[in-house]
Amino acid sequence: MSNSASITRTPIQSSERNPGIEFDIEWALSVQANTSAIERRCNALPGRRSIKKHHQAAWLLKAISCIDLTTLSGDDTENRVRRLCQKAKHPVRKETLIGLGIDPSTIRTGAICVYHEMVEVAVSSLIGSGIPVAAVSTGFPAGLSPFSLRLREIYESVKAGAKEIDIVISRRHVLSQDWKALYEEMKAFREACGTAHIKAILATGELGTLRNVARASRICMMAGADFIKTSTGKEGTNATLPVTLTMIRQIRDYYDLTGFKVGYKPAGGISKAKDAITYLVLMKEELGNRWLEPDLFRFGASSLLGDIERQLEHYLTGHYSASHRHAIG
């Protein structure tokens, strides 16, 4: 198996990190987001690009490499997390991968995403796999615990071995248009992360308008976010294509402005292989191939992997698959 590097690119290493820039309110607020026009683009997109056969299989494998395999439940236990980590290391049945001509050791998910208490067990389960552990943090999902504790939570998770921290922003700063406060908060979180990479969860379902989504995206990137992420998975509305289009267009503008690449993570509600491909297509169309790699693109998802496994088997055998044929995570 030659040249499998692209699937296994070590997450968040190959690009120079976004250090953030000075607070520039004028730039942040100059953006517009026309909902109807954005929706029209999103509605037309699945019909504009069609990926079939072995191309589809390749794109699905790419999607797997971009999954932050996630468990964020109150009933998470160490054993549950260990099981998930095993799945992250072996996301697809060996026979399937061999059938596809892929070295099974090259396929794994982008990361494991857990609450702080589960970081240690996840880290120890993943030793040697190269799979990073991401911790949701800062009073996830509401982000309303005391500020000092939110910073503290970041320190603790990093100390426990998390390489990626998914923070939640204070939605109230967006809703009350206190952009400076949002910038400062984000900057503080970023500092607290140290060398760990930071994903800023905007909780777009609670921001009211796409314009707010666009502005919040810009502020968070300005303050040094490595990734911007849609949702906690706990809001009424999670990742959608219009929100995605809005956010990634800000990533593009930020890149044009600064030369820094910021990653994107849609989370929640993406459970079908077909949807995953649509998201990848949108990334390719709007940002280019570079943003199809796990250091710049992740899916926050728990059930997506299962559907992709079934689709891969279908490609291989020509017959529709069943979920019990694939290992649970």
């Binding site: 990926i51 390749a58 314009r211």
Partner: protein, 790 residues
């Protein structure tokens, strides 16, 4: 290619739609198609056949019959024979057929899509996701229109036989736009598809048979332009509808002049796409993909002239160029392709030459970094910025994927640039400011305005243009009026009314009153310096009127155009002024009645009646001024599709010769009520009611230039007024048989015409002489699409 390799390139790969079923359909027909006449395919002997091919591969698909005059004759006779029955079965019965057509097309939707893409070269995504769904929607909508015709449009009836000629860019969609409303309203059809793209029309013919459509209701004749010429000028064609180039449209206008045919023309365009500095720039860039790279830019309403606010131009153009590089061009059957093939080598050559020629005048060229296939007729997405209004690139329709652009500083300048064109079809306006958007949309000369969107169509909303983009609307309630005429029993021929003769001696020696021209609110002497006498019915001279000439017309049109703010005044104000006009006329009722008696020799009772009716008519239109409302169409968007009634602009009116006062009032009152300005040529034999009337205008607060009167001999002035290129419409009610001249010369700027075709209109009969027909002729419907949502 191995999966591991795809993981490196992350290419889309090929996703071809299968053409097998479409090809099997062609095979089933032995790749040879006849003419669809009288309910069946006919293969007359000794006909020539021409080849239709796939422009993407240059492979021949089938042979198509070139119709001859005998075939045209047969088709026309068949349409004529079937028409009375088709109209008489009533709307609900016709609705069932249209509904069946819609259902059957839905069942064969993919076959239609593939056939369309094979024959035309457009991407399968567009035929599958846009063309065919719009076609089906059009038949459903018009099944409903047929259902409601009898109850909602009882005063309208079918024209009869309709001759239709359609273009190759949206073969099946344009056919739907033509056939569905025609059939719904009770007309029968002879239609000629474009030579390049007959196949989907022939597949539709099979659907007509499957639906059990009565024979003769739809006839489809294939062939080149000669067939088109034969059907549009055929004596049995009561109505002609054409979609295509402005040049051909102009020829059709001339060819059908004076034949008594109603005409609608859907012609070329060079539609502006305006981006203000507060727009969502990324969405505006994406909009351009739908505006100018939709259907390879072979779209009459393509947003082909880009105007960007100076302050954002560099950023915007940069974003646009980056977007162009992402467009995929290639095999139209590939589901991942944005641009397919140009229709034909000739069109490709034309695009290439226009761009090469145009660039000699300047402009900054950018060609999308897209890979073009080795064979087939492909042209890359192209942007040319820094193009001045004087350049050919900015003025001439290219009909390809070529966008030309310039910048503007202020909203007023954007409007001025946008309107600096012979065309007036569509516009796109991008701004997040609703005040700005809704201010600009009415100011652009066009039939369709899209706000923060582009190229949106629906059967419920009218589509069509102004200026040299043609006239008439397709779609919506407004489109149904293009396929009906008032059922007001205007059948008698008009009798020419000759001026009275007598001796050139004034009747009495009082103070000399000289009737002058009334232009720009002033009484002016005729440019010619000549006057001619008007005699009473008893042969005595009762006045002299100026002999108007082309310079008077020029001055009057200038004055009328300067007074166009009348159209922006409130409808309430216009109503008030009209009431005032009626009031002031009533004060002088006796004098006006006596003048009528003097001129015409009518009895005083009927003259008094004429004055009375005139006052009443003015009041009627004063009443209408603020009540002829537009509509909000039920288009399938989250947003509004507003059908606004706008004034036509400046209307030339050659008045009826009889009823010198009532004929004049019946024409000018609706025009004024709807906000138009007028250049009026009064009754030729009896002009003095008009010249008396301008004093009443003066005292009724009608702003200067809103009404201009030029007395003249109709046959002497008709050329100057019909050919004038700054008039938006011309109405002819006269009795000198000048319909043909009016229609023919109106081809200069393709102004809208409304003529009597030599038929007598009874000005005292309100069913013929007032009402909605007059209001519709006084308005242009502009559909403004306003999607909303946060």
């Amino acid at each position: 290619m191995k999966i591991t390799e795809v993981l490196e390139t992350m290419d889309y790969g090929k996703a071809p739609e299968s053409a097998e079923i479409a090809k099997a359909w062609i095979e089933k027909n032995n790749a040879r198609f006849g003419l669809f006449i009288d309910g069946g395919f006919q293969f007359p002997e000794d006909r020539e056949y021409f080849e239709t091919s796939n422009p993407a591969t240059e492979q021949v698909l089938a042979s198509i019959c070139q119709a001859q005059s005998q075939d045209v004759e047969k088709a026309m006779q068949s349409a004529r024979a079937s028409q009375p029955q088709w109209e008489d079965i009533g709307g609900p019965a016709r609705a069932k057929y249209l509904y069946a057509l819609a259902r059957l097309m839905q069942k064969h939707a993919r076959l239609f899509s593939v056939v369309e893409t094979l024959d035309n070269g457009k991407p399968i995504r567009e035929s599958r996701d846009i063309d065919i769904p719009l076609v089906i929607r059009h038949y459903y909508f018009h099944a409903g229109a047929a259902q409601l015709k009898d109850s909602e449009m009882p005063d309208q009836r079918a024209h009869g036989v309709v001759a239709q000629v359609i273009p190759w860019n949206f073969p099946l969609l344009m056919m739907a736009w033509k056939i569905a409303p025609a059939l719904a309203m009770g007309n029968t059809v002879v239609i000629k598809p474009a030579e390049y793209t007959s196949l989907s029309a022939l597949l539709f013919a099979e659907i007509c048979m499957e639906a059990g459509l009565p024979k003769g209701v739809v006839n489809i004749l294939t062939g080149d332009g000669r067939v088109g010429e034969m059907i549009i000028s055929h004596k049995e064609a009561d109505k002609v509808a054409f979609t295509g180039s402005t040049n051909i449209g102009r020829r059709i206008r001339e060819a059908t002049a004076g034949q008594g045919k109603e005409l609608t023309l859907e012609l070329g365009g060079k539609s502006p796409y305006i981006v203000f500095d507060d727009a969502d720039l990324d969405s505006a860039v994406e909009g351009l993909v739908d505006a100018i790279w939709f259907n390879q830019g072979e779209v009459c309403c393509a947003g082909s002239r880009l105007f960007v606010h100076e302050g954002i131009a560099d950023v915007f153009h940069e974003k646009l160029r980056a977007r162009m590089d992402k467009l995929r061009i290639g095999d139209p059957l590939d589901k991942s392709v944005d641009l397919g093939s140009i229709i034909d080598s000739k069109q490709l050559k034309s695009i290439t030459e226009r761009v090469e020629e145009g660039l000699k005048e300047g402009g900054n060229l950018y060609v999308g970094n897209c890979q073009l296939p080795d064979s087939g007729y492909y042209y890359p997405p192209t942007l040319i910025t820094e193009v001045d209004p004087s350049c050919q690139l900015m003025q001439e329709e290219i009909f390809g994927p070529v966008l030309v652009g310039s910048t503007f500083r202020t909203p007023d300048e954007a409007v001025a640039l946008a309107n600096n064109t012979q065309y007036g079809l569509a516009t796109s306006i991008w701004t997040e400011n609703i005040n700005l958007a809704l201010d600009i949309a009415p100011k652009i000369k066009c039939g369709v305005a899209w706000i923060n969107t582009t190229n949106q169509f629906d059967a419920s909303a009218g589509f069509g243009g102004t200026r040299e983009s043609g006239f008439g609307r397709e779609g919506g309630w407004e489109g149904l009026y293009s396929y009906t005429r008032p059922a007001n029993g205007m059948t008698d021929s008009i009798v020419q009314i000759k001026p009275k003769h007598g001796e050139s001696i004034p009747a009495d020696i009082g103070i000399d009153r000289t009737a002058k021209q009334f232009i720009g609110g002033k009484q002016v002497r005729p440019d010619s310096g000549y006057s001619y006498p008007i005699f009473s019915s008893k042969g005595t001279q009762i006045g002299l009127v100026g002999q108007g000439n082309r310079k008077d017309i020029r001055n009057a049109v200038e004055a009328a155009n300067l007074a166009k703010t009348w159209g922006q005044s409130t409808a309430h104000l216009r109503a008030q002024i009209l009431y005032y006009l009626g009031e002031n006329l009533s004060i002088r009722a006796t004098e006006f009645a006596e003048r009528i008696v003097d001129m015409t020799g009518e009895g005083i009772t009927s003259a008094r009646k004429e004055v009375e009716l005139s006052i009443e008519r003015i009041f009627t239109y004063a009443a209408w001024a603020d009540k002829f409302d537009g509509a909000t169409h039920s288009a399938p968007i989250r947003g509004l599709a507003l059908a606004m009634n706008e004034p036509v602009g400046t209307i030339g009116i050659i008045c009826s010769d009889d009823f010198p006062l009532l004929g004049l009032v019946s024409a000018i009152a609706p025009a004024l009520a709807m906000g138009n300005t007028c250049v009026v040529i009064p009754s030729e034999p009896y002009p003095l009611s008009a010249t008396d009337f301008y004093q009443v205008f003066d005292t009724s607060d009608i702003p200067a230039g809103v009404i201009n009167l030029v007395t003249a001999k109709h046959d002497e002035i008709v050329e100057a007024i019909s050919g004038h290129m700054d008039l938006d419409a011309l109405w002819y009610f006269g009795s000198s048989g000048l319909t043909a001249t009016v229609e023919k010369l109106s081809a200069t700027n393709l102004k809208r015409t409304w003529v009597n075709h030599g038929k007598f209109r009874n000005w005292t009969d309100s069913s013929q002489a007032e009402g909605k027909e007059f209001l519709r002729q006084s308005t242009e419907i502009k559909n403004i699409w306003i999607p909303y949502g946060e």
